[in-house]
Point group: C2
Amino acid sequence: MESLRVALGERSYPIHVGSGILDATALYAPHLPAGSAAVVTNQVVAPLYLPRVKKALEAAGARVAQVVLEDGEQSKRWTSLERVFDALLAARCGRDTLIVALGGGVIGDLAGFAAAIYQRGVALLQVPTTLLAQVDSSVGGKTAINHVQGKNMLGAFHQPRAVITDVATLDTLPERELRAGLAEVIKHALALDLPFVEWLEKSIDSLLARERSALVYAVRRCCELKAGVVAADERESGVRSLLNFGHTFGHAIEAGTGYGAWLHGEAIAAGMVMAAELSARAGLLAAADVHRVRSLLSRAGLPVTGPALGTERLLELMALDKKVARGRTRFVLLEAIGRAALRADLEERQVREAIVAAAQ
Amino acid sequence: MESLRVALGERSYPIHVGSGILDATALYAPHLPAGSAAVVTNQVVAPLYLPRVKKALEAAGARVAQVVLEDGEQSKRWTSLERVFDALLAARCGRDTLIVALGGGVIGDLAGFAAAIYQRGVALLQVPTTLLAQVDSSVGGKTAINHVQGKNMLGAFHQPRAVITDVATLDTLPERELRAGLAEVIKHALALDLPFVEWLEKSIDSLLARERSALVYAVRRCCELKAGVVAADERESGVRSLLNFGHTFGHAIEAGTGYGAWLHGEAIAAGMVMAAELSARAGLLAAADVHRVRSLLSRAGLPVTGPALGTERLLELMALDKKVARGRTRFVLLEAIGRAALRADLEERQVREAIVAAAQ
């Protein structure tokens, strides 16, 4: 097991990455001062891993409540939160209770938000079981639910007390979700770390074959990169936004196809190709590097062209996103492979050309 | 106008207290970087003060959205928050918008919580228009909504950017609410400041007559006391809980009579008499000082005996509160007039005797 630290002063916390650590009681025990815990998970994850996590918590002396929600993005809403609160109150969980988020990004966001607001904030452990959650959403404290008018519209920054990441849980992850998680791995590398890109180019097949040591390395490296960015910019006013590489286009793809049709990672993959093409049009990136982005994503089995929505519809969706966020659309572009930068000086013509180029 | 500061590092903020400052554009202008604001208020306050606040914001260059909720505690729930979010989204308010809470404690708590979670947190101004909100709930960052199983069960700590307190708005406050606000004024003094108790004993009639200079002094002194406590203990793990003097009994009175039958301040007033009686039974406070507490509250026109619920019912409600909060019932008692202390070593017999004594 390897452990690293997210440095946020008194809200600092460790990320433990290993294989087979899901039921390591010693990792849970320090976070149970009152001996009260509630595990929030979903119907897919519960039969696979809930009994082991409950056993580990009980071995640490905790009374354990549980909430099993439906699987999927549609659970990320207020009515699910109410189910969590009802369960917490029924189990008489007080301010010193620990909420354990066991699952993927939806569970992490939802249970994290529940922890942020229950009795004005209780302790949280993230136990991510998808690659996407392990490399991205479990680290950094972003929590949220959706509003009918937008994803993650309501939420809070609420850092966990620890992240317990067991790559062995990826054994049960559907192939398509593994690949979608790899899109976020590739995103971290392209935005921040050329040597990690080179490692991925060598190791992508080992990752697809779910080799434990390769997975531990990739997850740890992403967490290191993200921890550094979060420590420097917890609330995403600057450098943290570089991890949104591919997201401006990706969000439009998700919105345009109806949430769920494309997995988040798939939309981000196509979005990264568009962002790379835009970087080339802005005179930042060589054509050979755009090809390199496309090629790595392709080898990971990810889409490198967007859905057949049409260029105008995509532009419209991006403008809508911009209006809701108030302010100019800023793009995260690549100045080089492994070095992202925020740019707001792009013309619509360049964006249109990038979308067209990415479709070819 | 007098200004004081709540010292919380980079989340520090000023409290402005004066008479006739409600529409002072200069107090709003520094908090409108993006020129976008939304005022949250209720149907009673809106006709009285909304036009003036809107005008001040517009004079500072802001586009101003508004949300007018129903008056009363029943508005402190999720469906009201949804109305706020719908209005914010309809007005395309982004992360740089300013939410202005214009009203009493319910509006402050609700609009504050909306600001805490909209797009993971936006800026907030508190503009309290009741005495209770001016001396207590607008300062310190506690925000919340109710859950059917308990008051303030869901919430966040979200400090405002500034508090703008105009005592002239108290001219329109119903007499009964003015008196309920005085209960919180007296609470601050009894818990923390003997000279302030002495001042109140001299000035209570001026406050009841709504003399502006007396009101400014009382509000400023309460805010100073609360600011000191909040700066030392933002999340109420220690000294801040001393401001809960009278609240353990008071909450039971509110729960037992049905929320709203007794105003919060009225319940706290009777609760403070019970807490003083308990302090005497614990050997901390002289009988003459209990009389002094009772007498000051009485002169303010506040109830000094609880409702006819019966002693056993009140004890039962306190035990229920304790169960939900997990942990022993701790009482805030008086070691002397102006000096509160937290005690957990009380016997049920003593609590019962205190309730009986307070009823006589």
